[in-house]
Symmetry: C2
Amino acid sequence: MEFLLNHSRHHTGWCNRPDLADLDPELIKAVLEEAGKFATGELAALNQSGDREGCHWQDGKVTTPRGWHAAYQQFCEGGWLSLALPERIGGQGLPKLLAMAVNEMWLSANMAFVMFHALSQGGCEILLHAANAAQQARYLPALASGQWSLAMALTEPNAGSDLAPTTTKAFPLGDGLYRIKGQKLFITYGEHDLTENILHLVLARTPDAAPGSRGMSLYIVPKYRIKPDGTLGDENDLRCMSIEHKLGLHGSPTCSISYGDQDNCIGELIGNEGQGLSLMFILMNEARLSTGLQGVATGEMAYQRALSYASERMQGNHWQDNKRRVALIEHPDVARMLLSMRSRVLGLRSLAYLISARIDLANHCTDQNEQHTLLANVALLTPIFKAFATEQGHEMSSTAIQIFGGMGFIEETGVAQLMRDSRVTTIYEGTTGIQAKDLLFRKILSDRGMALRQLLDEVNACADRLLSSTALRFPAQQLMACSEQLQQVIDELLTDENAVQLRCYAGAVPLLDALGYLLTGWQLAELASSLQLAEYETTYQQNIVALAQFYTAHHLVKVPALLQTVATAETGLADYRFNT
Amino acid sequence: MEFLLNHSRHHTGWCNRPDLADLDPELIKAVLEEAGKFATGELAALNQSGDREGCHWQDGKVTTPRGWHAAYQQFCEGGWLSLALPERIGGQGLPKLLAMAVNEMWLSANMAFVMFHALSQGGCEILLHAANAAQQARYLPALASGQWSLAMALTEPNAGSDLAPTTTKAFPLGDGLYRIKGQKLFITYGEHDLTENILHLVLARTPDAAPGSRGMSLYIVPKYRIKPDGTLGDENDLRCMSIEHKLGLHGSPTCSISYGDQDNCIGELIGNEGQGLSLMFILMNEARLSTGLQGVATGEMAYQRALSYASERMQGNHWQDNKRRVALIEHPDVARMLLSMRSRVLGLRSLAYLISARIDLANHCTDQNEQHTLLANVALLTPIFKAFATEQGHEMSSTAIQIFGGMGFIEETGVAQLMRDSRVTTIYEGTTGIQAKDLLFRKILSDRGMALRQLLDEVNACADRLLSSTALRFPAQQLMACSEQLQQVIDELLTDENAVQLRCYAGAVPLLDALGYLLTGWQLAELASSLQLAEYETTYQQNIVALAQFYTAHHLVKVPALLQTVATAETGLADYRFNT
C-alpha cells in the first residue's frame, strides 16, 4: 500500500499540489500503521464470529453481533469514520487517496461490519451538496462523529435496478416537511443498535409528481424525531418488518422497512422536489468506488489466506524431485493461482488509487479544462473499476477455496465466508451489466470516444517507455496491441452506431472486461516502471516485474479474445427463441 | 435429453450394436419420463428443506434431514439405484448412456441427497472386479438393492490429494481378515440412517507394507458385522467422531470416522495387498464422470432457475423502446447470460453422453484395437469433462445469482444454494489442477499426443462438413483454427519436453480449459449438423444453430488466448519470490 500510494502521488502529479503535498510519506506511513493495527486487532477478530452469529430481529428491533457495538465506538473515537469528511463538520479533511487505502483495510478485516461506512460518507456528501444550512447544522456533525448513522432506502419490491417505478409517497405538510408512506427493501443497516439515531434517506414521490425517474425526491426520515434543540424526541412512524437471511454479510442487517403505517411518518425534503435521483447519484459514485474496493479487499484476503495455507500445508511431491514432499506452494499450478491473484490485486489497487488521486486533484483544481479532463477520466474509470474489481474479487475468493482444497469447503477455515460475503458485490450499487451499459453508452459513445482515447494515450505512453526494457518488452508489446485493437473496435461501434445497437447492448460486459484486464495490466506496467522512484529492495522490484510478466501471459492475453466477442456480440442472439 | 441421447446413439454408432440396439427411442423416452417425475416430485421437493435442516450428529449417530429416509426407500424400490448394475447381482443392466441422463436428473433435483449414488455404483464396480466369489455373494446383492450402502474412507489429516502418506493400519489376522486402526476424514455418507448397514471401503497399509502408494490395500469394513448366514451381528469397532459444517451439500453427511479405538475393528481385504490405490481408481473413474455430471446438472438448474426468473421479473425498459417496461429476459445482456449458460450446458451434456456411449461401446466390443481406441478416447476425455464441467457449472450457478440480482443473495430464492452446493465439485474426486496434470502428462504427453490427434481429427471432420453451411461456417472456421493451434502447441511441448517442464506444470489448467471450450463447441456443432436425423420442430433446430453461433462468438474465441497462455505459462513464475 505504501509503495502504491507513493507511486500514485508521483504518477498523478498529486504530490506537486501545495494543498495536498503536506500529506507526506511519513504521515501516510503512520496512518497506515495505525489503521492496520485497528483492522487486525479489532475488526478482523470479529469477522468470523459475526458471520456465525448474524443479526437478530425481534419486534422491529435489530441487534448486531456480539462485539459490534464496542468496535463501532472505537471506530468512531479513533476518528476513522470521519477521516475524509470536511473539517468544518468535524471531519479530518484527509484526501480520498489516503481514505481509499485505509478503507480497504476495514473491508478486508470485516466487510459486514463496515458496510455502514460508505453510506455515511456518501450520505454526508449528498447533504453537503444539497441540504440547506439548517439541515446541515442539524444532521452533519452527528453523522460525522458517528453518533447517528445513515441508511439509504431506495429499493421497493418492483423497483430494483430500475428505480422509476418507485411507489413510496410523500405528502407535503408545508415547511419542507412531508408525510412519508411506503415500503422499502434491502436497506443496509436500516435498523440496528449501534447509534442513538438513524437517518433514512428515502426516495419517494409527491402525489402530483411526474411519473418515472424525474418525479422522485429525496427525504430525510429520522428514526427518532429531532427536537428544535437537537435532542431526540419520539419515535417516528417507521418499522423494521424483517431482516433478510442472506448468503453472506450476515453481520450487516439488510432490512425491510415500512414507513407510515400509522400515517405519521414525517420526513424532510433534501434539495428540491424532483431532484431525488440525481442526488442519489452523488452517493452512488462514492458507493461504486467503495464497492469496487470491496473487490480489491476480497482479492487481497483471498490471496493472503491462500498464501498462508499453501505455505504451510504439506501435500504431494516436488515436480522436479518426486522423493521430496513439499508444501502446496511449491506446486507450479498452485503458484500460478497465487500469482494470478497477487497480480490482479496489485493492479486493481493501483487503479483504485489512480481514481481517488484524480478525484483529489479535481477537488483541488482551479483550471476548468484540467478539472473537466480529470472528472471525465474518473467518470470513465468508475464503472470499470466497480464492475471489474468486484467480479475479479469474487473469482479470487473462489480460487482461495480451490487452494484450500476440501478444507476450503468447511466453514471453519473462513475462506468460504469470503466467497459468500463477496457474492453480492457484483450486484449492489449497480450490477455489472448496468456498469457496462453506463461505460459504453454514457462514458464512451456519448463523447465519441474522447475520454477513452486520452486514457489509451496514457497506456500507450507507458508501453512506449517500456519497449526498450528487456524484462518488460512482452507486457509493453501486448499493451500496445490490445490498446490498438480496442481503439479499432470502438471506432467501428462509433462509425455505425445504429446498425450495431444489439451488438453494443450484448457486448457491453465483454468490453468492460476487456478494459478491466487492459487497465490492470497497464497499472502493473506503470508500477514496474516506477520502481526507481522509491528505494525498494531488489526482490520487491523483481517481484513487481515478474508479476507484470506473469499477468501478461495469463490475463492480458484475454483482451483480444474479449474484443473479438465485442465485435460479434450479437451473433445468434436475435435468432434464439426462449419460449421453446 | 431425448434429442441428445438419440444423437449420441447415432453419432457414436451405438445404435448399430445388436446388444445395445434394443434400447430404442421409445424405451429411452419412457425411462426419462418416469425419472423426471420422481426427480421433480420427490427429490427436488426436499432439496431446499434438506439444505436448511442439514444433518444431525449425536453420540456417533447421524440423522439425515426429514424426508430423506422415505425418498431413499422410493429411490431403491423404483429400481433407480440399480439401473446400470449387472442383472446377475439384481441390477437392471441398462447401459451407461441412459444412466448418465437419468443421473443428471437426480443431481439437478437434489445433489446432497443423491451423493451416495456414485459411491454405490463405483464401489460395486470395485467389488465386481476384485472381490472373490464369497465376498461378491455377501455384499453385492444387498448393495444393489440399496439395503446396505457404501462409503469410501480415503482421506486422512495429512493425506488428501496425495494419498501416499496414508497411516491407517491393517494388521493381518489370517483368513483374509485384518484389524483396522486409524482415522479418516471427509467420508461422504460415512454414517447415516438410510440403510441397515454401511460398508466402508478403507484404504490402509499392513505394518510391513512398502511406503508410499504401492503399500496400500483396500479393506471392506462393515458398520455391523455380517454373520455367516448373511444377517447382521454386533457393531464393528468404528465410530463417527463428527460431521463437517460445510459451505453447501448440507443434506449429505461428511464424516470423520475413527476405526479401531478398541482395537476391535475387523475388515476384509479386497483383491490383493498393495492393490489399494489401483482398485480405488476404478471407483475414481466412475466418480469423475459423475462429478463432471454434477457440473452439467448445476448449469442446467442455474439456467432453468434464471430463465424462469428472468421471464417473470419486470424491470427496466426495452432497449429499442424506452417507454415499454419489459421482463429481464428482454435485456440483451440478460439474454447473453442465459445463452451463455444454455450453450455450455448443452455442449457439456453432449460430451457426457459421448463419453458414456463410448464406455458402453468399449464394454460390448470384441475387437481389441477398437476397444483400445475407445478406451484411450474415454481416458482422454474424462479429466477434461470432470474439471471443465464442474468449473463451468459453478460459474453458471454464480451467473444465475447475477440474473436474480439482489434476490439471488437471499437464501430463500434457492439459487445461492446452487452456488454453495457446487463449490466443492471442482475439488473432490481430484481437483481441477490434478485433472489437468493427468490430462497433459498421462493422457497427452505419454502417448505422444496420439489419442488427442484422433480426437482433433473428429473435430476437424465435423468442421469440414459444416464449412459449406452458411449458418455454421463461423463455428466451423473457428473450430478448425483452434484445433490447428492446439496441435501446434502440443507438438511444441512434445518436441522439447525437458526444456518446458515448468511450462507444462503451469500451463496444464489453461490447456484443459482450452480443450474444454473447444470440445464443448465441437459438440454444439455436431448437434447443429445432426438435426436432420431427428424430426424436431424448426424453432428447435434454429435454436441449436443459434447456440452454436453464439457460443463461437462468446466462448470459442477464448481458446486461442488460453493456448497462448499455455505457450508462455512459465512467464514470471520462476522469478517470483513468495517470501517477501
